[in-house]
């Protein structure tokens, strides 16, 4: 596993030896992409950024380049990454550069083999998901081998083995586990001819994952007594899922179970883990509704038992909150609590038809979201033993009981309408309840209650020149108090973008922290190449993509991004 590169070269050579050298050049296609993000930091007294805090690192740089070679059924590629040093907010362990990702893949009839790095998801990811998110610095790709096999129509089987990426640290025995997984999915309507014409479509699946890690016994000294705990070397997890589709109705459910997995994440308790995810959706033209529910109980699953950061996650627990698109509404974002949470979410979209009395000439779009998330119920395993005590079963939990505290609640209402060829408007109201104590670890701070109003107006001067104006205001009596934000964006489609905005924390309880976070930027786009330059202050906060967040420190400076693909 350590020296995969020679294996890849051999595989590569074998696969091309079957072809004539000429056709390898002629038929082969090269594609790729790259991105460079550079930040030049300046000092900012109000933000507490001085020459000494910058520590000589005035310029920081993240970059990657991808190359993919394709020839018929053969694909190979690699990604080069450089963090010299990583831009503010990224894990400092990324510092360095190299090739963390390379693969070769061959499809032979109904079998596909991948050697090298790969990303994979079983079902909804409750027991296995390896993925990457460049903007957040997340990459838990698996290096090893994967086979996908379709033995019969409607049946898809996947098997994999490998070790996960841990920044730049090479794998050696003992520094992380070996992940093995098997997944099977059955699309009944394709498998059985008798069901081919049935209106109800049924897909069922199951996964099994195991992590082998050579872990030493855990020693705990309490009241001068030494306790020694044996930790399991093999941690297994499995899951079953079902998807039902009937016309506009859809049901998707998955249940996952994990054996006892004492780790730094759960304070070394021996309780088993489980999670349940269920969603129901119905839609027809102009109307859509979805309701989801989730229960997570001690489900952190990493390939290293001592890891507490964002690295080496084997599984993924989707948060049930609405991803926010406007900046002030992202100040208090939710992040999944892997040790236990119980949540529901509902979402509704409706278009009031065009040319109707209320809908107007172009129709009016309405969106409603509601989320509510609590801790699961946690009761002591025995009298006198506190919940989550190391070496115990941790806690007992009633599956359906709502625990305390509350983690998050939000309600969003969005209306958007095109009034004429020239003018569009969107207005939105967001209300949030945010447990800053648990989510951000600000121990003892009170629950944050917010009310946010948003207006987004677009006016077109000519078919390609438009001006966009955003106004947002956030009201809260807790944490950093009230905010107001205004943005102006002038666009000349499809190439030029000019933006200025200011976020003003006028309600901050500390008078000298009532700061303006101003920024000005421009971008030029030519096909797939985008060059963007911005200058200004960056608010301290959480940057979130797809429900996973990264803490971004306050900064002041110039940011340059160049991205392209070919």
């Amino acid at each position: 596993m350590k020296n995969l590169l020679p294996v890849l070269i051999v595989l590569f050579t074998i696969s091309i030896s079957g072809l004539q050298a000429q056709s390898f050049v002629d038929l082969g296609k090269v594609s790729g992409s790259f991105e460079f993000d550079g930040q030049f930091y300046g000092t900012d007294e109000a933000l507490g950024i001085t020459d000494s805090t910058l520590d000589g690192n005035k310029f920081r740089f993240n970059g990657f380049g991808n190359i993919i070679y394709t020839n018929g059924n053969f694909r190979a590629g690699f990604r080069y990454e450089a963090y010299l040093p990583p831009i503010a907010g990224y894990n400092s362990q990324y510092e360095g550069h190299g090739i963390p990702y390379y693969f070769a893949e061959y499809q032979f009839k109904n079998v596909q083999i991948t050697i090298g790095n790969f990303y994979e998801q079983f079902g909804n990811g409750l027991v296995l998901r390896s993925y990457e998110e460049w903007t957040l610095g997340i990459d838990n790709s698996i290096r090893g081998a994967r086979v996908k096999f379709q033995p019969y129509k409607g049946i898809a089987i996947k098997g994999l083995i490998g070790t996960q990426r841990y920044y730049w640290e090479p794998y050696y025995n003992g520094n992380r586990g070996i992940v093995r997984g098997l997944d099977a999915e059955f699309y009944l309507n394709e498998m059985f001819n008798g069901m081919a014409e049935t209106k109800t479509k049924i897909i069922i699946g199951g996964s099994f994952v195991s992590n082998y890690e050579d872990v030493a016994d855990k020693t705990l000294i309490q009241d001068s007594t030494i306790y020694k705990y044996k930790l399991p070397n093999n941690v297994a997890a499995y899951a079953g899922r079902m998807r039902l589709i009937h016309g506009g109705f859809q049901f998707n459910g998955e249940y996952a179970y994990k054996i006892n997995n004492p780790s730094a994440m759960n304070n070394y308790i021996y309780k088993e883990g489980e999670s349940l995810l269920a969603s129901f959706a119905y839609s027809t033209k102009g109307f859509g509704i979805s309701v989801s529910g989730k229960r997570i109980d001690n489900m952190s699953y990493k390939s290293k038992s001592t890891e507490i950061g964002e690295a080496l996650d084997i599984n993924y627990m989707p948060p049930l909150t609405n991803p926010q698109k406007y900046s002030l509404a992202t100040i208090y974002p939710y992040a999944t609590q892997p040790n236990g949470e119980l949540g529901i979410q509902g979402k509704l979209n409706y278009t009031i038809p065009r040319r109707s009395k209320i809908g107007g000439k172009y129709g009016t779009k309405i969106e409603l979201n509601y989320s509510n998330i609590f801790n699961i119920d946690k009761q002591p395993v025995a009298e006198g033993i506190p919940v989550d005590s190391t070496g115990t079963l941790g806690y007992q939990s009633d599956f359906f009981a709502i625990g305390s505290p509350k983690y998050f609640e939000s309600f969003d209402f969005i209306v958007s309408r095109k009034f004429s060829q020239k003018f569009k408007m969107l207005v939105s109201y967001v209300s949030q309840v945010y447990n800053i104590d648990v989510i951000e670890g600000h121990t003892g701070e009170p629950m944050v209650y917010t009310n946010i109003v948003i207006a987004d107006l677009t006016y077109k001067f000519t078919p390609i020149k438009s001006l966009r104006f955003e106004y947002q205001q956030l009201f809260t009596k807790q944490d950093r108090g009230d905010w107001v934000m205004a943005l102006l964006e002038f666009n000349i489609a499809p190439k030029w973008f000019f933006t200025v905005f200011d976020e003003y924390n006028y309600g901050n309880p500390e008078a000298d922290m009532r700061l303006h976070y101003y920024s000005a930027g421009m971008a030029y786009v030519q096909n797939t190449t985008r060059i963007a330059l911005s200058y200004g202050r960056q608010r301290e906060g959480l940057l979130c993509v797809g429900g996973v967040c990264r803490a971004v420190p306050a900064a002041n400076g110039l940011t340059l991004t160049v991205s392209s693909s070919f």
């Binding site: 296609k29 090269v30 594609s31 790729g32 992409s33 991105e35 380049g65 991808n66 993919i68 694909r75 499809q107 990303y119 998801q121 909804n124 990811g125 993925y131 460049w134 999915e185 699309y187 479509k201 589709i245 859809q250 995810l277 959706a281 839609s283 027809t284 102009g286 859509g288 509704i289 979805s290 993924y316 989707p318 948060p319 049930l320 991803p323 926010q324 698109k325 979402k347 509704l348 979209n349 278009t351 172009y362 779009k365 095109k418 677009t458 000519t462 078919p463 390609i464 438009s466 966009r468 666009n491 489609a493 499809p494 973008f497 786009v525 030519q526 797939t528 797809g546 991205s563 693909s565």
Partner: protein, 175 residues
Amino acid sequence: MKNIVMIMLVLFIGLSVYSQSEGKTGRQLPSIDLRTAGGEPFNTADISNDGKPVILSFWALWCKPCIKELNTIADEYYDWQEETGVKLIAVSIDDSRSSSKVKPFADGNDWDYEILLDENGDFKRAMNVNMIPHTFILDGDGNIVWQHTSFSEGGELQLIDNVRKVAAGQKIDEH
């Protein structure tokens, strides 16, 4: 260290020039397993539109300009289809957090597009999509003939202009 960065830079620029001159012969879509918005398995090698052009648009529920682009096109889509026979396939890169909400969202917004779910970004990676919105035009034979990233009001005019050229069998040359 700096030398390596320079070498990589030169390599990438060189390759992008090389592939652009070579790209005229057309690159086909990779074969990736996805799901339809309805939840059924779907392979991207099966994307076709009976010899007519296809617009492939990568988007997500959290992406404001993506939704703006798809809403803008939705107002014109019927005319575009009638004129060029084009079909738009909107590939959502929302993960399992939101993928079950994609179909209700698309239907609720009255979109007539085909929707695919790329839950783990496999198709996105294979297509070298760095940021969204990222839009491709495929010709009638399934070759990628044009791509563009980002959107602002009026961007749809360039898109349909290029679709018209592809539908008429002309080359897209623009600077």
